[in-house]
Each structure stands twice: as C-alpha cells, then as structure tokens.
C-alpha cells in the first residue's frame, strides 16, 4: 500500500480509503440484456436460491452472495456476466444508441464491449479491438456466450488504427478503457502494486495518450469519447485527458453518475489541469465498496 501514500493529499478520508483497499471485493455480475431482462435474470437467481443485491445506480448490476458466480444457471445461459461493479460505469457514460458505430479500443476480455452491444439492443456495429492476440480468444468466447451479434473483433495497435477495413470512415462514439497501472484493482489482485514505479506510470501514460488521440481522430464531430482507467494515478488520468484537449479538437463534458465519486483534479504536484477536468469522476473503493476507477467524457468538436 506504500505507493498510495502519494494520494494522501488528494483523497478525502484517506484512512477509510486504505482500509477499503485492504478488504477483498465481493462478486458482482452484470445482467446481459441481449439474453435476459433484469427481471428474468433475477427470477432465475431466486429459483436457484442465489441471493443478490441490485446496485442502486444500475439495476442491471447485481452483487451476488455466492463463491462461484460462474457456476449458476444464469451464467450458463449468458443471462449474467461476471464484471466488477465500477467496470460497468464507462459504457453507461458513453451511452451508445442502437444502430450506431462504436469503437472499443482496448476491448479484451469483452465485458464492456458486450455491455455496449447490450445498451444498443445488439443493433449497430461495435468494433472490439485489442492489441493482445492471446486476450482476443477470451473476448470472442465471451461475445459468443453472451450472444452479441453486433461485434466485429480486430487485433491491432489502437494508436495507429486503420479505418480502411470498414464501410464507414468514422465512429459515432469510442470507449478508451486504457491499459493502466491497475492500482484500483488492488482488492481483486493483491499483487497489483508489486511492479509499481513512477517510471512505469510514465511509460503507460505515453501509450494512453496515443490511444485517446486516435479515438478522438476516428470519432465524428459531435461524437462522444469516454476515457477510463482502473487506476488513481493523475499522470494516467487527468494528465492524459489534458494532453488530449491540448492536441485534439475536443472538450470535457459533464455527465450524471448516481454512484458516489470525487471530481477530477485540477492540479497534481507542479502540474495544473483545465478546470473542466472537475467534470471527470474519481471513484474510490471507500465510496461505494467497489474497486477504484476514473472516468472522463469528451465531446469531439471538429
């Protein structure tokens, strides 16, 4: 937990934050509405005596009281998919509509890409890309298990992604759920901080900037890009978004999120960020008893 000391000045109730990071995380699943409504999925859970609690901010997110959420009938039928509660936030913020063209730049293993498809009633095109071929098989497995027919899966580096293979030139929306230092997954992966270093963070931040810039370039004017990470490091969050608004035609916009969170930062050490970054959301483990997450919403302006 020592690396987290650097966040003492920016996190309210820092001791509660540290205590929450020490606690293991419960099992959460998302209802896959491509295959079942929340009513049907919960009725199936009740039939099997699996206790659950519906998240207040999203009735499609369920906290299950079982040690094996993968061994339920709802999982076998693809009614539910194991997905951390905060990881269901970015697709909701992106708010894709049926029939749209949507790019998930870093999509494996597919929880968010299939959630995007579900939010679009599985109508439209969700391009689910990942640069890691090994993780693509997990993405494909999950897409088929969940019955998502609107996914097109590609295996490329998002930073210089080519649009040539598609019958369209730009996306309506893009989700950049970037590779990151994963500090916010500490409750699920106790070794998440084992290789932590500021040098590592700087390296990843460079990649994140490249991916976010390409996502903005490939999205139409008036379209939406959501940037998210599962880390607390401002170098990978506000600083990356600041770089994007400096270099590309876009602006940070506000969004509703009925999950407790702190605003994005406007300064970190000797750096200052645009005041609009306060509209980003920092979700800490002690806020809602979840993992940690950062989410920012951008509008493409040209």
């Amino acid at each position: 937990m020592e690396p987290f000391e650097r966040y003492r000045p920016i996190i309210d109730d820092f001791e509660a934050f540290l205590a929450a990071c020490e606690r293991p995380l419960g099992n959460a699943v998302r209802v896959n509405t491509i295959k079942a409504s929340a009513e049907r999925a919960t009725a199936a859970l009740e039939e099997d005596d699996v206790a659950y609690e519906q998240a207040e901010w999203n009735p499609r997110v369920l906290r299950l009281e079982t040690d094996s959420p993968g061994s339920t009938w709802t999982s076998f039928h693809g009614f539910t998919h194991g997905q951390e509660e905060v990881s269901a936030v970015p697709p909701v913020v992106l708010d894709p509509q049926p029939g749209e063209r949507v790019w998930d730049c870093c999509a494996a293993p597919g929880g968010k890409a299939t959630q995007l498809a579900a939010l679009m009633d599985d109508r439209g095109t969700v391009v689910a890309n990942d640069n890691n071929l090994g993780r693509i098989s997990a993405l494909r497995f999950n897409a088929e298990r969940l019955g998502a027919t609107s996914l097109a899966v590609t295996n490329d580096d998002a930073r210089n992604y080519s649009m040539k293979r598609f019958p369209f030139d730009e996306f309506d929306r893009a989700l950049v759920d970037a590779p990151c230092s994963c500090e916010g997954t500490i409750r699920k992966n106790p070794d998440a901080l084992d290789n932590w270093s500021e040098g590592h963070i700087d390296t990843i931040a460079g990649i994140q900037k490249g991916i976010l810039r390409r996502a903005i370039q490939t999205t139409r004017e008036g379209g939406t890009v959501v940037y998210s990470t599962c880390t607390f490091a401002p170098e990978e969050n506000e600083a990356v978004v600041q770089h994007a608004i400096d270099e590309e035609d876009c602006r940070v916009v506000d969004f509703d999120l009925e999950l407790a969170h702190a605003p994005g930062l406007t300064e970190w050490r000797d750096e200052t960020f645009d005041s609009t970054l306060e509209q980003a959301a920092r979700i800490y483990p002690h806020h809602n008893d979840t993992g940690g997450f950062f989410v920012a919403k951008l509008e493409v302006t040209a």
Partner: protein
Amino acid sequence: MSDDSSADLHKNDGQQFGRLPETDADRTVEGRVSRAAVVDYFEDRFAIPPETFDDYTFWEKGAGKIWLYSGEADSPLEIEAIGMTCLRTRQEHWKPTTDFVQRFGAHASECVIDLDREAARRFAAGEDQELEWDGDWGYLIAAHTVAGEREPLGIGLYVHGELRSMVPKGRQREL
C-alpha cells in the same frame, strides 16, 4: 446439392470472411452455401421463422464455418471475428452451435427436446443420457424451464435412444 462445375468458382480462402451469396445461383466461391439454404435449414429443421434473420448477414470463414452478424462490413474481410459462429456446413449433417441455439433457439418450435432440471444439469455438464424422444433423430435443441419459460441449453445429437450433449468443453458447467 450444387453444381460447382458449371462456373469458374474461386477456392474458399479460410483466412477471410466472405459473405454468403443470396442463393445458390449467386455463388462465386466453390462449395459455399447460400443465405437461402441456411435460413431454409433453420426453418425446415427447427421451424425458426425466416424473418428472424432479416436484420442479419451470414458469412463463411474457415471451411464450412458459418457466422451470423448484425453489424456493417464489406466482403471479403480479414479480421478476427464478426458476430458469432452459428452453423457448421460442408459436412453431411449440418450442425448448429450451442451459442447460436442459446441466442436464437427460443424461436424454434420443432426438434426441441424439453429436459427436467436433473437432465438439464447432466446436459450442461456435457454428459450423454438415455432419453425418450418420438421425433427425428439428429441434432436437437435441448431446453429446460427457467423462471416459468422455456430456455434453450444448447445443441444435442439424438441417436439410438440417447441424447449426446454437444456443449463445447469450455462452455460445460457443473451446476
């Protein structure tokens, strides 16, 4: 089923997705089934209404592996995947996939075998079991009742009084 010798047909390139021709007469790739044949098969075998697939396109990648997709794409296409695999052709008995059956099997009204909870459990675990069935032999949609409604489990092969679970290893579960 087809007469490929009558035209200059291309060899199937297993590395790329090629959209199925509308009918056998539109075929440009050797041995490739048509959309009409696929939709007819689902109707003839399982009584799935053809209009179920109005908003979907069908593609082949690999020999006889048919994919169903609802998004936009040009043919041919070299990417990792589109939509889901739904059917295996280029063999005597066409075989639907378990994932397809789970997604679209609720539209079927023939060749569906209803299992009780214990038989469903064995089917999901990948076990073969002896069961009574009055209908056709061959590939059947296995289903059970979940929260008051019929829910397809996957594809099974019924022969000689036995239902063999075709649920792929990675999808099998001990429930």
